[in-house]
Symmetry: C2
Subunit: 336 residues, 2 copies
DNA sequence: TTCGACTGTCGAAGCGCTTCGACAACAATC
DNA sequence: GATTGTTGTCGAAGCGCTTCGACAGTCGAA
């Protein structure tokens, strides 16, 4: 395996010149650079990652901690991971995979051993136990999702409030005047992640602004619960024509329930959801939806981390604009 | 950040002694070891990964290359990745995530820069372009799946032939005498992965051994194709009572088709599948199935790699015994 | 012409660890 | 009592790279 001294000798320069030619940290004449590059090619030289890390205290590796708990959508996690790896490569970095199971100690370990230059942490909870550590650490990190307070952190996620608004506005534009939000199970609003509340806030704000009649119903993740909510909705809001669903598990059962109650989608009822595209596409009636843009979040998270590694300041909160994909489940309100 | 010389001074020994106490590569007295451990604890010492890699030419990192192409089952890939990470940690290793997209150059890069000690490659195709490189490399690697020839490689996968056999034997035990295999799309048998053929071989061999009437039908991944195959089967094998499905995409449509043709599962027809448990569980009629044991494959792959890193020989082919989970879709043949 | 200010290159000093050879001290063997 | 092993420790030499300071040469400005 060729080393930098071999390249230097072969190119007739000193090792430090080779290093500078590679890193661009000092000016090198075109002629010298050319000779160095040629020597590198001829010898098949690849710098030794460990030696580099030792001398420069930069490993060019970043850690990605992925969630494991039940209830997460695995394909979305995978999409995200792939986009992080791809984006990291564009910056000459590799990605070390950590599981949530490793927790704070895992993060501490890879940082303390100088294995990684920075951290990306997924599935951040409101009062995530990893937060104090991440705040304290001298290595930069970026989190996906928002904890109770993003102070001193760098967080990125879909703008769930805007997503709630966008759904209502879409329905309003189609002429709907009475709408309802079917949300996550009640416990999600208590513990967990902030995004559920944000959807509610956006939904309500937009409905109020547009003077729509609106109601919000949490819903357990079971077909039975879906059926119950459907019945309740029709009882309490007989004029209902637009529904926003923010609950992957009950989207299909809910549509089934409405149709079972004699409402056709989209003829009698327009349905829009905040859920992965995969799910929205696969239903009998493809659903107009807003998805978590996993690939974009991943790429942006890496960008933010790279900025921080360069010592640049970045904003604590980055919210990605929702993008709605129209499918067959929404239509203009039938005028009676 | 404390370094090994700090620990040494604090414990009143030389750095090399600390190193030996940590690695166990030379005998150290209990008393010295105790003092070293205490110093490590008090100083919060963590060895620098880069320095270690440079001095020992071992990075304690292994690369995992995951597939991206359409048609793979994402949750299974994820299960697999998680089990690799978990198993690797038990051996004190971390895992670098590579995407298939990086291809041979990606593998070459992480090896040439000495970033990783070994490679695990998923989704190996019959004539995978990465094979020549992997054979030539001086670093050990393990592949998931079998190429045309496993010579000079280390491969691991579910024993698909045994899986095909097990399905037939299960049906035979329940009294079925006429069975059919609904397989992958025709093109899979041509290009692609060896496992499809293996299932066929196991299926046929077991049927012949048990003197069952049997037939094999490839099937495109569409509901229409499923319906067509169902009709064809009933036409050609009117006495058919047992079906083995090795085709994720058509499992549900196929059952629907049979029921549409008046056959109840499992009353009139027993169905067993080779597919992820997730899918088998989620169907209206839960299906008796054999799954790819992703977690086990991952753990075993890491074990094999660790053995190779220790310079031990391992067998070229490791086949994991199939495990069948009985669900509602198979039953004793109704005696007319 | 002289003085910075660049530009382009080199040599040397580390980065923090592992490992090899050396060597005491002591036990077991003839 | 000399010889051979073991056990436990140390010092020094590197692993392959980056980076700092030094310095020679060039160029436009004063």
């Amino acid at each position: 395996m060729a080393k930098i001294t071999d390249v230097a000798r072969h190119a007739g320069v000193s090792p430090s010149t080779v290093s500078y030619a590679l890193s661009g940290k000092r000016p090198i004449s075109d002629e010298t650079r050319r000779r160095v590059e040629e020597a590198i090619r001829e010898l098949g030289y690849h710098p030794h990652a460990g030696a580099r890390a030792l001398a420069s205290s930069r490993s060019n590796v970043l850690a990605l901690m992925v969630p494991l708990r039940a209830g997460i959508n695995v394909p979305v996690v995978m999409q995200f991971a792939v986009s992080v790896v791809t984006a990291a490569r564009r910056y000459g970095h590799d990605v070390l995979l950590l599981t949530q199971e490793e927790g704070e100690e895992g993060l501490r370990r890879v940082v303390d051993t100088a294995l990684v230059d920075g951290l990306i942490v997924m599935d951040v909870q409101l009062d995530d136990p990893r937060l104090p550590l991440l705040r304290r650490l001298d290595r930069p990190s970026v989190m996906i999702g928002f904890p109770a307070s993003s102070e001193g952190l760098t967080c990125i996620d879909l703008d769930f409030m805007a997503a709630g608004e966008a759904c209502v506005e879409h329905l309003a534009r189609l002429g709907h005047r009475v709408v309802a939000l079917v949300g996550s199970p009640p416990e999600v609003y208590v513990r967990g992640t902030a995004f559920a509340q944000r959807v509610v806030r956006g939904f309500t704000a937009a409905a109020d602004r547009g003077r729509l009649a609106s109601a919000v119903h949490p819903c357990e993740a079971s077909p039975a619960a879906a059926r119950a909510v459907a019945e309740q909705l029709l009882r309490e809001q007989p004029a209902l024509t637009g529904v926003v669903v923010h609950n992957e598990a009950v989207l299909e059962p809910l549509i089934d329930a409405f149709e079972g109650l004699g409402l056709r989608v989209p003829t009698d009822l327009s349905v829009t959801a905040i859920c992965p595209d995969e799910l929205a596409e696969s239903l009998r009636v493809p659903v107009t939806s807003i998805a978590l843009p996993a690939a974009e979040v991943g790429a942006r998270a890496v960008e933010l981390l790279m900025k921080k590694l360069d010592g640049k300041a970045v904003s604590e909160a980055t919210l990605l604009a929702p993008r709605m994909t129209e499918r067959g489940s929404t239509g203009r309100r039938a005028v009676a």
